[in-house]
Symmetry: C2
């Protein structure tokens, strides 16, 4: 059976051009780029080319790009590195309730260490309020970390406006752009961003590769201490093949950004409109227009996300209920709770994230299958569809684990 992959926010297949660069280095360039002999010098060129490609993709300087082992590492580094470096100055951090767990759990960890964290609420679309942000900034605020675009519901935050406010207050501004990078244009100079996290495997690059942009002049503690790699800021032998592949993936993402983005957006809107028109009692999560071009997130009343996923999988469609990082967890998504959905409704979430290889026929097939699946699951559901949805209903029905 043909498979339709609609979980590009979780990870993407590697691009053939990226694969070519990566396998060439794996096969031919085994030198350690920190070595001075020719094998080392030879592979070092690929690392520096990749750094240029990434820098260019976000309008940064090459000396502002630091490679990491993942987007999560970049997030952890940004938060802990800035916190530890500045703790004599202040111990207050501002973030949002809908961040990725790489930010939230890091902040929670710092709270145990005496830091104070303000988690800004969001509105029903997942947008923070600029007034809330202004009001939250204190004299001892050392860092504001607000995601560029949400991984579950796709909402794009007003990063430029946030950057202006934070800069005016003289506070450091980090944004987790793992989902945004390659999908929306990013210009770190224009946005007044001081630190920005990205990941390769979300843009048709390999897993195990991320990067942190650190604006020149921003002082930060290391997360991984040791050798002198990455200008003494991130120790460990460079993942040369992964780095070169990431560079290529970034280059491709940016070259084709407008075109790809338009393609994704067309299919996204087709999917949203098709489902909303053909299936009753469904809500679109996230902002209708300020959202990632490839992101679709629904909540279907009276059914659980996991049942939908399993049925879709049998129909050849790969999708997710939310973040892949928390799959297996039975807690309702913190993002869906933050936009005001009751836990019972949040359990019925489905995220479909479109990629550059997705076709119109794929979307038509998915809509068709969803209509059948949702109807069948609702018939099987022990929950009375005439009752109001809330937590109590789910618990009574034995559905709340």
């Amino acid at each position: 059976m043909k498979r339709i992959y609609l979980d590009h926010a979780a990870t993407t297949p590697i691009d053939p051009q990226v694969y070519e660069v990566m396998t060439k280095i794996l096969a031919e360039e085994y030198g350690n780029p920190s070595s001075i002999y020719s094998e080392g010098r030879s592979v070092k060129k690929y690392v520096e080319t990749a750094r240029e490609q990434i820098a260019k993709a976000i309008n940064a300087d090459i000396r502002e790009i630091y490679f990491t082992g993942s987007g999560s590492e970049a997030d952890n580094w940004a938060i802990k590195g800035i916190a530890m470096k500045n703790r004599a100055k202040g111990k207050h951090i501002i973030t949002t309730q809908i961040e990725h767990h790489a930010i939230l759990h890091t902040c929670e960890y710092l709270e145990k260490d005496g830091f104070e964290v303000t988690y800004l609420p969001v509105d029903e679309f997942g947008l923070i309020s600029l007034d809330d942000l202004k009001a939250a900034i204190r004299k001892d605020t050392i860092l504001v970390s607000i995601m560029f675009a949400n991984n579950e519901i796709g909402t794009i935050e007003p990063i430029k406006e946030i950057g202006e406010i934070v800069k005016e207050k003289g506070v450091i501004f980090h944004t987790d752009a793992v989902q945004a990078f390659g999908n929306v244009p990013i210009d770190v100079k224009d946005l007044n961003v001081d630190l920005l996290s990205i990941s390769a495997h979300k843009i048709y690059g390999p897993k195990g590769m991320g990067a942190l942009f650190i604006r020149k002049g921003v002082l930060i503690d290391n997360l991984i201490h040791g050798g002198a790699q990455e200008r003494k800021k991130r120790a460990g032998t460079e993942n040369t093949a992964g780095i070169a592949a990431f560079g290529k993936a970034a280059e491709l993402a940016v070259i084709n950004l407008e075109e790809n983005s338009k393609h994704l957006q067309t299919l996204r809107d087709m999917l949203i409109e098709g489902v909303m028109a053909k299936i009753p009692q469904v809500r679109l999560n996230g902002h209708p227009t300020k959202r990632l071009p490839g992101n679709v997130s629904f909540c279907f009343d009276y059914i659980e996300g996991e049942s939908i996923l399993l049925s879709l999988d049998l129909a050849g469609i790969a999708a997710s209920s939310g973040s892949a990082c928390t799959s297996g967890s039975l807690d309702p998504s913190h993002v869906l709770l933050a936009i005001g959905l009751p836990a019972g409704v949040a359990h019925g979430s489905l995220r479909l994230t479109i990629g550059k290889h997705t076709s119109q026929e794929d979307i038509e097939y998915v809509i068709e299958q969803l209509v059948v699946i949702i109807e069948r699951l609702r018939k099987m559901s022990p929950i009375d569809v005439n009752c109001p949805i809330d937590d109590a209903v789910f618990e009574d029905a034995g559905h709340h684990h």
Copy 2:
């Protein structure tokens, strides 16, 4: 010109069988292993196979293996994770003066945070004293971290005896086995090791992959917070291709360990004997027998390591002055200083590390070339070879940067 690569301690070329596993996953298995649909389940099998292969290679349980982005990350995690978890109990850590910088710089970072670190000295061969260790353990000692084998001089520490002492005192024992793994047999049960760091690219696997063995029951803070990957201990989408490749590399390393090790040792001893017999005023660094089978480390009086390296490179030979992680640094090696060499002598160091593809002809050629190179460099040296070597001489000669 044929190249002879003798820097296997810095990194190794990828094994063809490892390459095959890795590229298969890069090309065919793009799923996120945390996802529940078939693409996710399919690639998850490879991750779990790799975990089994690594576990088997060191006689651990599969639930005791945690994948990381490098050996340095594993070292940082072990030290910081144990330190932060146990700081209410005590803030004293014991390590050695000759650890890899991933350990030393991490310990120095913790010292700024109120931890106290004892750096055990070593003898002229690079061995720690078990009596020193016993005397150093205090009531507030929470961690002992002693490397399995040194990356520069190849000396193998008495890990089993250290493990017994540390266990008896009820302290947690970590060892950085990045250089030892694949070169000497490792049995974490027999050795009483609680945590052990390893890296893929030292054993013919890919760069950007490491692992930390954490004995069941040992409590540790996370270094990278976020998603629920690695049983909630190390966040970030799994580097599936790298993990599978690491597993294969570990399997191959262990299957062929005895044979490979014998091959390396034969060539090592041939290289040591050849150089010592044919070149005057040369010292062997490290222990003559308690050393890694592939490690050769010399100091040549009256010349600088970097000049030797550049001449060797022109002769088609890739070698290193010490650790690749500190290439470019002009400070003398902390390891060579710790074994008692004056800075002037330490500057003349050369490390040649043999690999499984190295042949007897390669070694013969290297000895031949070294004889010529050392003689030529000594003739060019502004240092009077009849003067005693010490720092002052080097400084006077303008060689000390």
